[in-house]
């Protein structure tokens, strides 16, 4: 009978916990709604440990409440002198042994999973056609923006990571300046982006981001890296393999996209060497190597979900950002545009032109 | 404890450093301080090993080509000898022979000064050939580790000299005997650290 009650209690608690947990957070970013194998493993560990720990808390609470209810002075009498018990070897043994058993239950999946999630041995395994069978992305953390290089495909993008679903994607992480940490909460745990060494791990994306309300997963920098650490966001588009291959092909196109409209053409001129020389920091072609340019690659700017990683994607925000980047990401390294324009602010017309040009940069249909 | 009490070699206790509560406290406290010093040097050693031969690309200097063992070996011998002479000094302290203690301490100080002089020469030489403190991570770690030891030597010498001058006229008593003892203990510690530096930095450095 007692046993039945206990089991029922545990079950009720667990289901309450699950309901509470599941109701938490947005699916684009919550670790509680895993969208990949790695995050799922970690979520399972969370549930396992939560159950064990809840059990511990309940046991302690029961003894605790009984003790403070039964032995209060008002109950046992003002002058009662309790027996001065020294201790009990038997009890000491019990509350040493049981926690050890509980910890052993936790230790096994911990060790297994630690090695499993760090296993990158298949990263360089070649498929039959001589190419690597898995996608590798080189991630470079910069002061408040992210660069993603696809070395085997020879393409570079920034701020929005595009990955195929249902396969392992390997990441090489390094920082160009100071330490950051690469985190896509709903897809898997974080790994630090150190300035002195490359860290490697893998993630799996099991859900297409188009199913999400916002169309992308949210990525974060998780290591304090300066004033705009909070704004060092990136986005992840996960698409099926076919769509991914199309995207790669589009990125690899040698010919620059045709700029349409007079306004956008004026913007292109401003952007180029004869204008403000934006292009000396920001490449507009997806072809190339990583970690070369001082600013983010803009080849896919028009396809993006956000401006500067966190502002809504519209021309208004593009113009705001260009005219005063420090206002929107304090401490970032983009020069004040006036210094590129002989000390003068850009006119509304020029801003409109730049925004129109940038919004037209696209590789997607 | 009476500072003016006069002793004879017979009435002088076998272990004057721990004969009073103050002495005992200082004795234990100083050993604990040495434990903290050990952790300090362990951290410095670990850092040195991590940064050994690390520098900007195209760095000119590495441990294998830099160090000259004969000079360092001479320094090692001098410091080891000074540790021995400080043992003699403590032997005479325990026998209440103040003059002999002062004499042996004086020899210890001379040897210590020689060591320090050679170390300054060595450092000067490195800086002269272009291996300065700011040269690389390796040079920073090297100068910090060996320099911290050098600073300890300097402090130990100043301590000896201050004690010798201060007590030159008043001789040994229960108040200053623990101080002499601890200064000598400190000197041994410095010596042990140097043995590690000699092994880890110089020998292992030259071998590669």
């Amino acid at each position: 009978m007692m046993k039945g009650i206990k089991k029922w209690r545990l079950f009720a608690l667990m289901s309450m916990l699950l309901v509470f947990l599941a109701g938490c957070g947005r699916e684009e970013i919550s670790t509680l709604i895993p969208a990949g194998r790695v995050a799922q493993d970690q979520f399972n560990l969370l549930i396992l440990s939560s159950v064990i720990m809840t059990f511990v808390i309940v046991v302690v609470l029961i003894i605790f409440i009984l003790a403070i209810v039964k032995f209060r002075r008002s109950k046992v009498g003002e002058d009662m002198i309790p027996e001065q018990v020294e201790g009990s070897a038997k009890l000491e043994f019990i509350w040493t042994a049981i926690p050890i058993v509980l910890l052993l239950i936790l230790a096994v999946p911990t060790v297994y999973s630690t090695f499993d999630l760090a296993d990158v041995s298949t990263m360089d395994v070649e498929a039959k056609d001589g190419n690597s069978s898995h996608l590798t992305v080189n991630v470079t953390g910069n002061l408040y923006w992210w660069e993603f290089e696809y070395p085997e495909q020879g393409i570079v993008t920034a701020q929005e990571l595009v990955v195929p679903t249902n396969e392992r994607v390997y990441f090489n992480l390094i920082s160009a300046d100071i330490k950051h940490s690469f985190w896509i909460p709903s897809v898997g745990g974080k790994l630090d982006v150190n300035p002195e060494n490359v860290n490697t791990f893998y993630l799996e994306f099991d859900q297409e981001s188009s199913e999400l309300e916002d169309g992308v997963f949210y990525g974060k920098c998780a290591e304090l890296c300066g004033p705009s650490h909070a704004l060092m966001d990136f986005k992840v588009k996960s698409v099926d393999r076919e769509e991914f291959d199309q995207w790669v092909t589009a990125m690899q196109a040698e010919e620059p996209a045709v700029v349409e409209g007079a306004l956008a053409q004026q913007g292109e001129e401003l952007f180029g060497q004869d204008g403000l020389s934006c292009i000396s920091c920001h490449a507009t072609s997806g072809l190339g190597e990583g970690n070369l340019m001082a600013g983010p690659n803009l080849a896919t700017f028009g396809d993006r979900n956000r401006v500067a990683g966190y502002l809504e994607h519209n021309e208004e925000n593009v113009k705001k950002w260009i005219s005063d980047p420090q206002e929107y990401k304090p401490g970032n390294l983009m020069p004040d545009v006036a210094t590129l324009n002989n000390g003068e602010k850009l006119s509304d017309q020029e801003l409109n032109a730049l925004a129109a040009y940038l919004m037209g940069l696209s590789v997607e249909e | 404890m009476d500072i003016n009490q006069k002793y004879t070699p017979q009435s002088w206790p076998d272990h004057p450093e721990t004969a009073t509560l103050e002495g005992k406290n200082k004795f234990i406290g100083f050993w604990l301080l040495l434990a903290a010093e050990t952790v300090t040097f362990a951290s410095l050693f670990a850092t040195y090993l991590a940064l050994k031969d690390k520098g900007p690309s195209g760095m000119e200097f590495s441990a294998a080509g830099l160090f000259e063992l004969p000079l360092v070996f001479a320094m090692t011998m001098i410091l080891l000898t000074s540790s021995l002479t400080s043992v003699y000094a403590m032997y005479h302290m325990k026998n209440y022979n103040f003059k002999a203690m002062q004499a042996w301490l004086a020899i210890t100080v001379m040897l210590g000064l020689t060591f320090l002089g050679l170390e300054i020469y060595e450092f000067n030489h490195y800086v002269h050939i272009g291996f300065g403190f700011t040269n690389s991570a390796f040079s920073s770690a090297f100068f910090t580790l060996v320099g911290t030891h050098g600073a300890h030597v300097l402090f130990g010498l100043s301590w000896f000299i201050a004690l010798m001058l201060r007590n030159a006229k008043r001789g040994l008593n229960m108040y200053n005997a623990p101080k002499f003892y601890l200064a000598s203990l400190y000197w041994h510690f410095i010596d042990v650290v140097w043995v590690f530096i000699f092994t880890v930095v110089y020998l292992m450095g030259v071998i590669g």
Binding site: G25, R26, S30, L46, S49, V56, I57, V60, F64, I68, F71, R72, G77, M80, E83, V85, E86, G87, S88, E92, W95, L103, L106, T110, V111, S113, T114, L117, A118, K179, S181, P185, S186, G189, K190, L191, D192, N197, A222, L224, P227, S228, H229, A230, P330 | N25, I28, G29, L32, V39, T40, A50, L51, G55, F133, A137, S140, T144, A162, Y175
Partner: protein, 626 residues
């Protein structure tokens, strides 16, 4: 003696505290300055919660927010929690072992002043060009890139106050090893003394790596070294290792004395001997020992590799075992007891479920793969506030109520104390419980703002409202302190009625020589044993009444610390090319070394209180002449 002190004017009282080497007065100094810094850190905490009350708030700028979080963490750990615990150690530990003072009264004073000037130096950064802004962990790559002098203030200030703490640690160790009263064997020491002992050993071995790391930081920033400069071959992970080799023992330096305070409280207010005293002692030692082997669990995401992560994960889990032993022994101590719910006991009782909650989330983070998700998220923020506020700060509040009568001779109001408790306790859970879920919902820590599109608004608002309750609790405590001081109702030796250890056998506050005659200890809880045997004096004596040797007061510790304080400004501005900086540096060092030399050259043998004076004092009602 102190009847004379009471007639002194204000200036003379200040001078008395500046020169004192009496452990009880130094305890008061620690408590007052620690309390002051606790309020400063609390204000910083409120600023953080105001900024995060809603999405996209612009109450604080990004840079200021980083300064505030850095100073909040640094202040609370180094300048509030530790000094207040050192205050209780100073006030109580020598009394518990039947000693007249600590082993090195002069160094005790030096330790305090170093801490004090280090803390002031650090906080002056607010007014001199900006506070440090790289987090209390001060990770190297960000710290090297940080502009202005904030990080230099951090490194130099913590170096100074770190020396002070190291000195205090050595002092307590020697005191406990050498100065226990006859019969006070190690296994008869009260648990607070035991935890002081282990925490001091941790201080001894943990602070040197921090000092070394801080020196590297100073060398890199001020003198062009390249320990952490990656392009020069440096390595920033060295800082992380050194910091956490210090940092993990540091949290045990905080929590062990807290355990000690709660152990005393459970025994006193259950009117019952500690259950499993031996197990509690060994659990304390084990926790201290393991504390040095788990530092890398703060670095699971650094990329140390699966082997290191697995080993450190398992080592970390093991710590749950001795901690569990402690919890269950406390539960069994109150089991079968006669529980009085006075204010200290309420805190102690509330501590158990709170700390268990903090402990189990600790085990969850020991699971390395799970920690990849939890690390640097709000989950960890919730976790360490559960153990540090739920453990250490509750212990500090409990200890303040418990030992206030012993330190000052008056009782804090029970009624106001309970109000403080309920505001603080409920506010605490409201603030931090929900942060676990913020972390799981993907919110990283140390973010100065968050977007409305992240789904974190509601929980952050709830969290901030809890902070208001906590602040209210602290304000009530301040009112309580002021009212108690104004009322000034004197109390006797054992105000709680159920004291068990030696400190409750002597007047409150104790005379400056503590024990006219050294007590003879007959067992654990020696005062309780004598009480039960009907001994009206509360103790038996190991020696006849005789002259007592006491150390002289001295201003030198203050001057040495002042010298270091001044020299630090010189070092800080030296490379700015300020012409006066070198003079300030040399002047400060001269002051410091000069006064050290003066101390070692001048024989200071102390003075004696004669038997007659002691008898005179005893006649005055044995209450320190008040």
């Amino acid at each position: 003696m102190s009847s004379i002190a009471q007639k002194k004017g204000f200036g003379a009282t200040i001078w008395d505290f500046m020169t004192t080497v009496d452990h009880k007065k130094i305890a008061i100094l620690y408590l007052m300055s620690g309390g002051f810094f606790f309020l400063v850190g609390g204000i910083e905490a409120m600023l953080i919660r105001i900024q995060l009350v809603k999405a996209g708030n612009d109450f604080l700028s990004a840079g200021t927010f980083n300064e505030v979080i850095t100073m909040h963490g640094t202040t609370m750990i180094f300048l509030a929690s530790m000094p207040i615990l050192l205050a209780f150690m100073n006030a109580v530990m020598p009394l518990q072992i039947g000693a007249r003072d600590v082993a090195f009264p002069f160094l005790n004073s030096l330790g305090f002043w170093l801490f004090f000037f280090g803390g002031i130096f650090l906080n002056l950064s607010w007014f001199m060009g900006g506070a440090p802004d790289a987090g209390w962990t001060n990770y190297a790559s960000l710290a090297l890139a940080s502009e202005g002098h904030g990080i230099d203030f951090y490194a130099l200030g913590l170096t100074i106050s770190g020396f002070g703490t190291l000195i205090a640690g050595i002092n307590f160790l020697v005191t406990i090893i050498n100065m226990r009263a006859p019969g006070m064997t190690y296994m008869r020491m009260p648990l607070f003394t035991w935890t002081t002992f282990v925490a001091s050993a941790l201080i001894l071995l943990a602070f040197p790596p921090l000092t070394v790391g801080l020196f590297f930081m100073i060398f890199d920033r001020l003198f062009g070294a390249s320990f952490f400069a990656v392009e020069m071959g440096g390595n920033t992970i060295i800082w992380e290792h050194l910091f956490w080799i210090f940092g993990h023992p540091e949290v045990y330096i905080l929590i062990l004395p807290a355990f000690g305070i709660f152990s005393e409280i459970f025994a006193i207010f259950s009117r019952k001997r500690l259950f499993g005293y031996t197990a509690l002692v060994f659990a304390t030692i084990l926790i201290g020992f393991y504390g040095f082997m788990v530092w890398a669990h703060h670095m699971f995401t650094v990329g140390l590799g699966p082997t290191a992560n697995a080993v450190f994960a398992l080592a970390t889990m093991i710590i749950a075992v001795p901690t569990g032993i402690k919890i269950f022994n406390w539960l069994l101590t109150i089991w079968g007891g006669n529980i009085s719910f006075s204010v200290p006991m309420i805190y102690a009782v509330a501590f158990i479920p709170t700390f268990v909650a903090g402990g189990v989330t600790g085990v969850m983070q020991a699971i390395a793969p799970l920690d990849y998700q939890l690390h640097d998220s709000y989950f960890i923020v919730a976790h360490f506030h559960y153990v540090i506020v739920g453990g250490v700060v509750l212990a500090i509040l409990a200890g303040t109520h418990l030992y206030w009568p012993k330190m000052f001779g008056t009782m804090l109001s029970e009624k106001l104390g309970k109000w403080t408790f309920w505001f603080f306790f409920l506010g605490f859970h409201l603030t931090f419980f929900i942060q676990h879920f913020l972390g799981l919902m993907g919110m990283p820590r140390r973010v100065y703002t968050f977007g409305a599109d992240q789904g974190w608004d509601l929980f952050n608002a709830i969290s901030s409202s809890g902070a208001v309750l906590m602040a209210t609790g602290v304000i009530i405590l301040l009112v309580n302190v002021v009212m108690t001081i104004v009322k000034n109702e004197r109390i006797g030796n054992d105000p709680w009625g159920d004291g068990r250890t030696l400190e409750w056998a002597i007047p409150s506050p104790p005379p400056f020589y503590n024990f006219a005659q050294t007590p003879l200890v007959r067992g654990l809880d020696t005062y309780w044993i004598e009480k039960m045997d009907g001994n009206k004096k509360g103790m038996i004596f190991a020696e006849p009444l005789g002259d007592i040797h006491m150390p002289n007061g001295s201003i030198i510790p203050f001057v040495i610390s002042l010298g270091m304080f001044i020299a630090s400004f010189g070092a800080l501005y030296f490379l700015d090319g300020k012409p006066w900086a070198l003079a300030v540096l040399i002047g400060g060092l001269a002051l410091m070394f000069g006064s050290m030399l003066l101390r070692s050259l001048k024989d200071d043998l102390g003075f004696h209180i004669t038997k007659e004076e002691l008898l005179e004092d005893a006649k005055g009602g044995n209450t320190d002449g008040h």
